[in-house]
């Protein structure tokens, strides 16, 4: 569950007051109130009527020499209004798109990223309404005829050019794809993931090009909610475990700094999700790393205890994987490649860790 976007959007756009009505009167956004009938590839596409939506690709890749890389490519959509006016100008604002791209070069100790924003308009910034096909100027992600997904994004410092072949998923992140975010019924989203996508292609970091392959994780989520006023941020983890299972965990933090809401899904090697209850899991941060850029202080290590798998410690592959997004939404957060170690120090998995609200609280 990727909640940072919700907060990003909070900063970008106006929302109605917290706790929107459950039904959808005219002029109101749709809510994720119950299980949903899913149909693919249509549900890879844009979902009008929901306020926010995102397509999130992360992955851990290696070149032929074993050099390790992490990457992130995310597209966000947010609607200006629930019922846009019909207007003659093709620039008339209905949706706003923004995107973040990042590469972690572990051996080169480099973390490069870029962000951009644009209003929705055909050919300029748009998500298809019938398939996985999202673009923001020359950054794109598009499902191909063979069901693979092509990712492409480039900037001065980085370039991502990858193909994610079909793998595990879609996996619904909650019964009927409804993923609760809080205790209120409307505090939920529709959320599915494609957790293990064999990926190959090239990454360019500061002008140096690497041919890579590995595994990617894709999330697609849409909702019309935002974080509640007592929450300041969250932590999210997605892991490809060494035993073939996949794990998604998140916790929301309140103003006191403690977990306000904790949730997750453990996906078996044959693609069966187990929705973890609060009693099933614990997530404990430790250590400190202070960002020289933002001054935010982030945990450097996480202890994960899940019922049914050995205890793990999570460690970032590079300390500084913090993004600042001055060209889009001005939010500062941490999104980085991590590895999981078992108690004996052996690799138990790898994946991505997201930490928000450490540089500045993300609540309204």
């Amino acid at each position: 569950m990727r909640m940072n976007q919700i907060a990003l959007i909070t900063l970008v756009l106006v929302n109605a007051a917290a706790g929107e009505p459950a039904s959808r009167p005219a002029g109101e956004f749709l809510q994720a109130l119950g299980p949903r009938e899913w149909s693919f590839p249509r549900d890879h596409a844009r979902h009008d009527g929901f306020k926010t939506e995102w397509w999130y690709f992360t992955g851990n890749l290696r070149d032929s020499a074993g050099r390790r890389f992490g990457y992130q490519l995310t597209f966000f959509r947010t609607a200006f209004t629930a019922s846009p006016a019909t207007r003659p100008s093709p620039w008339a604002a209905t949706d706003l798109y923004f995107a973040h791209a990042a590469i972690t070069d572990v051996e080169g100790k480099a973390f490069v990223y870029a962000d951009r924003i644009a209003r929705g308009r055909a050919g300029y910034a748009l998500a298809s309404d019938n398939d996985l096909d999202v673009m923001l100027r020359d950054w794109t992600l598009k499902r191909q005829a063979d069901d693979s997904v092509k990712l492409s994004a480039a900037d001065d410092k980085l370039s991502i050019d990858l193909t994610c072949r079909p793998g595990r998923g879609p996996i619904l992140q909650g019964p009927g794809g409804r993923n609760p975010k809080g205790r209120e019924p409307a505090e939920a989203s529709y959320y599915y993931s494609m957790t293990r996508l064999p990926t190959s292609g090239t990454l360019t970091v500061n002008g140096r090009r690497f041919t890579v392959d590995g595994l990617s994780w894709m999330d697609h989520e849409f909702s019309s909610n935002q974080i509640s006023s007592n929450q300041v941020g969250w932590d999210w983890i997605a892991l490809h475990l060494a035993d073939g299972r996949d794990l998604m965990l998140y916790r929301m933090r309140n103003k006191a700094g403690s977990a306000d809401f904790l949730s997750g899904t453990l996906i078996s090697a044959d693609g069966k999700p187990r929705y973890l209850s609060a009693a099933d899991k614990s997530l404990t941060p430790s250590g400190q790393w202070k960002s020289p850029a933002s001054g935010g202080i982030y945990p450097t290590s996480w202890k994960i205890k899940i019922d049914g798998i050995p205890e793990m410690t999570l460690r970032p592959l590079l300390a500084d994987q913090e993004l600042q997004t001055p060209h889009s939404t001005d939010v500062t957060y941490y999104e980085g490649a991590v590895e999981a170690l078992d108690p004996s120090g052996k690799p138990a998995g790898e994946g991505y860790l997201e930490m928000t609200g450490y540089a500045k609280p993300l609540s309204r």
Partner: protein, 872 residues
């Protein structure tokens, strides 16, 4: 050394104390000369910097803009560029001039704006629209270019959402909102393009920093809203970019779609400087004329001072003072005059500039583009410039007297006659020099090249030439007067003429200075009157119509404004209508400069015979609507074209070559005007819109009444204005008069400088003749006779100068019309002498002679003869 200096200072101070009035007149002369130069310079500079400020403030951090060669930039061209990963931030912009007014009630606006610019700084009148700039932006592209468009940061949530998603929503800057008297949530009425639209003000923002005053006329709209308001769906006006390195620039140019051009923001503000260059040059030259007259005054004053102190100087030389020391003494005095005169001049110039800036700005508003200059500030540069002008004038003026003073042998210094004899010889030499200068002036005209500077050089040489003729002509006139009055026993007149003729060193210069000032006044008035007459006549022929209909916004040089085709249909149904000519005008580059291009029905225009044609190919050859054009005289001059030649024009449908059927007089546009058949224009430019309609009504009807009725009817639905031709003409002539108001002020200031010269000369003459007077007074000359004597001297100087000025002024007027105006603006003004101004010059000179004589008479009469005689 210090002791010498102290001695000199005491010597100078003593002299100045004794000749306070002369010193004061000299100071005033220098100060006024400096003031005029400083005032014009800083007032024009304030207007230019205001325009530059307006461009720069709007550009903020953007350094360049991309424009389409023709029309606007297609949305898809912008998207293509944006998707090609440009090497720098880029932002689409729509910018339009609009008239904006508060909606008092639901009634339609009835007060039409006047022809000529709407002064952007004028206080709002109820129901009177203000000129504003509507900026349509995509705030998501703006961030790295501009801060004042950051609506996300400045607007509240609801206002922001409304601004982004609802049609017809704008944000106003606080100053504009204040002047309109509107607040957030209220609506204003906009005239934009050919339509009138009501828009809601969602918020009012306060721009900060230096840009604040330059952004005081801004309305901000979302890009989509601006496209809808400006009727520009699928098009934007330009793309602002921020380039930091030459590499970025070349990378950007490499990916720019075809048909787009990159221009720097500096280039855009430079175009304003270029636009008003001729106007500025004219003003600066006139102001230099005032400084030039001041040089004569200094010369005169210094010469008089040398003369007055000849005995002292002789004594000093006899006592061993070197020539260098004498030179130093005069340099010191000239320096003091320059310093004090310069300082006074700068202060006066600053005050004058504050007055002139409004007038100059209004001319630039009328003729070129909207400017809102801030009040002229007194700064170091102004002092430096003023002191420089003062020092240069004083040095130039002091040069000859200095040489004279240093060269005079001590014995001669003590003898008056030697000086007089020498000045008479000098007059002869000067006369020859004058003739040479006049010949040179004519030679300059024959030189190849078209710079208006050559015209100014001609005028300068001519002015100097006539000035150099003055001493000898004065002598001849005086000798003539003596010959006439001697048989009549008119002693005071005879004495006066002899006195003037004998003291040519003083009087010749006074005549020259006064002549120059008078000639300047005569030439400017002659040129302006000729121009006005020509314009009047031209207007009658150019607009051979009774009623003119155009968009409201045309009043602000925005020819891109159009009128709705429905207006034309409505007019064509009116019973008063007899015939109608359609005009579509746009600006497009021809020969590298923006040129007005009009499409109209040429045949009725040519057949009517009234069109102000200067030359055309054989009239028996009919106008070929598909391939022929008419071009204006300024365009023909700029591109060296004549009837029968061809002209190449870039059009949106590709390059076209047209035959020049004829050249017409045009005082409307100095950058050039090309007229072609409307259908041909519509095809080549893919533009069949209308800019104006020239209507003839049924005989016997009153155009004013018809225009008023049409205006009232049309303005209910469209932002158009119907005016009778007479109204338009009156307003255009009013603009003309405003334009030349400054020129008149300058001419009169030059005359004021010259008056100081005359007064100084009379005083000097009186002082020089004090002993003669005393002898005469002792033998019984009455006070009245003294007055007649002094005033006759003044009158002789004034009349001589006026007589020469009539000739010189008229000659200068011809240079101004046929050389300077033609080379600056491309139009030739049929010029003729205006004897009225000659008579006026004589009257004014005579009055000046009387006024200038009062104090010398008082001084002479008051001093008892015995005092002077004792010195004998």
């Amino acid at each position: 050394m210090i002791a010498t200096l102290r001695f000199f200072v005491r010597l100078s101070a003593g002299h100045l104390r004794k000749h306070r009035l002369e010193a004061l007149l000299c100071l005033i002369g220098v100060a006024v000369g400096v003031a005029v130069v400083v005032a014009i310079d800083s007032a024009v500079a304030a207007c230019v910097s205001s325009f530059r400020g307006a461009v720069d403030s709007l550009a903020e951090r953007s350094t360049h803009s991309i424009f389409a060669e023709f029309g606007g930039i297609g949305d898809e061209q912008f998207i293509q560029l944006a998707n090609s990963r440009p090497p720098c931030p880029i932002a689409p912009v729509i910018e339009r001039s609009v008239l904006v007014e508060r909606i008092v009630d639901s009634s339609v606006p009835t007060k039409a704006p006047k022809i000529g610019a709407v002064d952007p700084s004028a206080a709002p009148v109820a129901g009177q629209p203000l000129v504003g700039r509507l900026i349509g932006v995509d705030i998501f592209s703006e961030r790295q270019l501009r801060s004042f468009t950051n609506m996300r940061g400045t607007l509240g949530d609801d206002a922001f959402r409304e601004f982004m998603t609802q049609p017809d929503r704008v944000v106003l800057v606080d100053e504009l909102a204040g002047r309109l008297g509107v607040s957030a949530g209220q609506s204003v009425r906009l005239s934009i393009g050919n339509r009138r639209r009501e828009v809601r003000v969602v918020a009012i923002i306060a721009p900060e920093g230096v840009a604040r005053s330059q952004l005081s006329d801004i309305l901000i709209a979302d890009l989509a809203t601006a496209q809808e308001l400006a009727d520009s769906l699928g098009k934007i006006d330009r793309i602002d970019v921020r380039l930091e390195t030459p590499e970025q620039e070349s990378a950007l140019i490499a990916i720019m779609p075809k048909g787009l051009v990159l221009r720097s923001t500096q280039q855009q503000s430079m175009s304003m400087t270029e636009l008003i260059a001729s106007y500025k040059l004219n003003l600066n030259s006139l102001s230099l004329m005032a400084a030039f007259v001041a040089v004569f005054i200094v010369y005169n004053a210094m010469l008089v001072s040398v003369r007055q102190r000849a005995p002292t100087l002789g004594i000093l030389r006899c006592l061993g003072a070197s020539r260098g020391q004498i030179v130093a003494l005069y340099l010191l005095e000239a320096g003091i005059v320059a310093a004090i005169g310069g300082l006074l001049g700068v202060l006066g110039g600053w005050a004058l500039a504050r007055g002139l800036v409004g007038s100059i700005a209004s001319t630039i508003n009328d003729l070129y583009t909207a400017v809102r200059p801030s009040p002229v500030a007194l700064d170091g540069a102004m002092f430096a410039k003023g002191l420089l002008v003062a020092c240069a004038s004083c040095l130039a003026g002091a040069l000859v007297p200095l040489i004279q003073a240093s060269r005079t042998p001590p014995i001669n210094a003590m003898r008056q006659s030697a000086v007089a004899g020498r000045s008479s010889r000098a007059a002869g030499r000067l006369f020859i020099a004058g003739m040479v200068l006049l010949a040179l002036s004519l030679a300059v005209y024959a030189l190849p090249g078209e710079s208006p500077m050559a015209g100014f050089a001609m005028a300068l040489l001519m002015g100097l030439g006539f000035a150099a003729l003055c001493p000898l002509l004065t002598r001849w006139i005086c000798l003539g007067v003596i010959r006439i009055v001697r048989p009549r026993q008119n002693l005071p007149m005879q004495m006066a003429a002899a006195g003037v003729a004998r003291s040519l060193g003083i009087t010749g210069v006074a005549v020259a200075a006064m002549m120059l000032a008078t000639a300047m006044t005569i030439s400017i008035r002659t040129m302006v009157s000729s121009f006005r007459g020509a314009l009047d006549h031209w207007l009658d022929r150019r607009f051979s119509a009774d009623v003119l209909i155009g968009p409201e916004l045309l009043v602000n040089h925005k020819v891109e404004s159009t009128i709705d085709p429905a207006v034309e249909r409505w007019i064509s149904r009116q019973p008063e209508l007899r015939s109608m000519v359609h005009f579509r005008a746009i600006y497009s580059d021809v020969g590298g400069k923006p040129t007005l291009i009009s499409g109209t029905e040429i045949d009725p225009v040519l057949q009517g015979g009234s069109w102000p044609i200067k030359s055309r190919i054989d009239p028996s050859i009919p106008f070929d609507p598909a391939n022929d054009v008419l071009i204006s005289e300024p365009l023909a001059g700029r591109l060296h074209l004549k009837s029968g030649d061809t002209i190449d024009v870039q059009t949106p449908t590709g390059p076209r070559r047209f035959n020049i059927h004829g050249v017409f007089y045009d005082f409307g546009n100095e950058r050039g005007h090309l007229i072609l058949e409307r259908q041909t224009f519509a095809r080549a430019w893919k533009d069949d819109q209308l800019t104006s309609l020239h209507v003839k009504i049924q005989p016997g009807l009153d155009p004013q009444t018809v225009a008023a009725r049409w205006s009232q009817e049309l303005r209910k639905d469209y932002p158009v204005v119907a005016n009778s031709y007479l109204q338009v003409k009156t307003e255009i002539l009013a603009i003309f008069d405003r334009t030349f108001a400054v020129t008149h002020v300058l001419a009169w200031l030059a005359a004021a400088v010259a008056f100081c010269g005359l007064a100084g000369s009379l005083l000097a003459l009186a002082m020089a003749r004090q002993r003669d007077y005393s002898v005469l007074a002792a033998v019984g000359m009455s006070g009245r006779q003294t007055a007649v004597w002094v005033i006759s001297q003044g009158a002789l100087i004034a009349w001589t100068s006026a007589a020469i000025a009539c000739i010189a002024g008229t000659a200068l007027a011809y240079v101004m019309s046929y050389v300077i105006q033609y080379r600056s603006f491309g139009w030739s003004i049929p010029t003729s002498p205006y004897p009225r101004y000659w008579v006026e010059s004589f009257i004014i000179s005579s009055a000046a002679a009387v006024v200038a004589g009062i104090y010398p008479i008082y001084r002479l009469v008051r001093t008892p003869p015995a005092v002077n005689l004792r010195q004998e």
